[in-house]
Assembly symmetry: C2
Homo-oligomer: 222 residues x 2
Amino acid sequence: MLSYTEENYLKALLKLSFQNEEKPEAGTNEMAAYLGVKPATATDMLKKLKEKDLVTYKKYGKILLTDTGKKNGIAILRKHRLWETFLYEKLDFSWDEVHEVAEQLEHIQSAKLVDKLEEFLDFPEFDPHGDPIPKANGEMPVIAKTLLAELKAGDTCSVAAVKDTSTLFLQYLEKLQITIGTKIKIIEVIDFDGSLYVGIAGGEPRSVSMKFAESLFVQKLL
Amino acid sequence: MLSYTEENYLKALLKLSFQNEEKPEAGTNEMAAYLGVKPATATDMLKKLKEKDLVTYKKYGKILLTDTGKKNGIAILRKHRLWETFLYEKLDFSWDEVHEVAEQLEHIQSAKLVDKLEEFLDFPEFDPHGDPIPKANGEMPVIAKTLLAELKAGDTCSVAAVKDTSTLFLQYLEKLQITIGTKIKIIEVIDFDGSLYVGIAGGEPRSVSMKFAESLFVQKLL
DNA sequence: TATAAAAGTTAGATTAATCTAACAAATATT
DNA sequence: AATATTTGTTAGATTAATCTAACTTTTATA
Ligand SMILES: [Mn+2]
Ligand SMILES: [Mn+2]
Ligand SMILES: [Mn+2]
Ligand SMILES: [Mn+2]
């Protein structure tokens, strides 16, 4: 049985492994920063996780999830995203509110609960932020991720996921009536500052910053 | 903010206060036994709860919830029973499976979650075991509780709640196709051992033990 | 009422998770 | 290569929740 805290370390390592593309390893300070603890604390926990064969770790070295560690991490991510979907779809939470509560719900231990919840939600593929929900067997679709910022004038796309999940960004998106699936057309790319002039389905054309364009994953449409 | 453990002590004290009819106080050993800890552990925690003004307690004395303590305890009971109802109604858990998971879910912190959950469940009044669900304001209907064992030959009743919530009893009830609301008619009372010969709506007449009859709360029908 | 039993407390130890402060190793920069 | 910076570790302390073993108070019983 893993403690609440151990689970958080595994999930953090998994998330970091997605972030550092192609390099699924992390450092002590990186982990500590991500989890909001001091490096000394992370060092201790990493030793413990190594004892339990959940990570590979040696002094001053990089940290990597073992197969068991990864399996456990994915199970927690699966619960997190299923609960986010539940809160969003069934309880009318907005997409900037779901994460905090899911951080707690993801630690509930009950295999039956997860699977029944998934069934109740009709086997959703993505969570409210557009992130893929791992299946019971651990499979998780890896979607090619294109940033809005990578598109050119004339391109059209559909919003696939948010890269930045901060409340500020999510609420701004809501204000612009942008949600997962919203169609966006790039009217013009402003070279001066990397901002974009875009048409958002059903709204007036408007300008969005480069920071904005780098925070949104889209699927390019033909 | 209360810890998971503190919450459990408050809920335990509340439950004990319902059990000891008319005497809403509990003793240290009683609390410890109920929570599955040693008396020494309970003593320490009670001192802590007293510091936080959640219980009234003095050395070698009985323990009583303060108003704040009671309010908190009821809030946890409310969550517990709402989650049990969710698991039973929406996720097809059987009534002997819901408790264990609700023990975990009751500690999730989010006022919005509880209230939305209640709304989603259409403001249920009773949980799957027939126990009343406290309202958001702390109100909880106090239902007159009659045991099946108190009835006489010729009486008819409707099952209101289970007194014993053990898996063994709940599964036995399921086997007999008895659930909340099931009508039962007392055909004969066997004085020798207190057992009852009863007719269960839609089934063959059968005999049930005194222990059985003392584990089921019913509402007498006219 | 004296004594035995039950109920409750205290002291001291343990484990998990955290911290700060001091130190050590690895990496980057002149 | 020497030095400075970054990264990571160790030692020692703290807090919450628990335990055991010894002790004290209260209650029951002879
Ligand atoms: Mn999230
Ligand atoms: Mn998400
Ligand atoms: Mn229960
Ligand atoms: Mn119940």
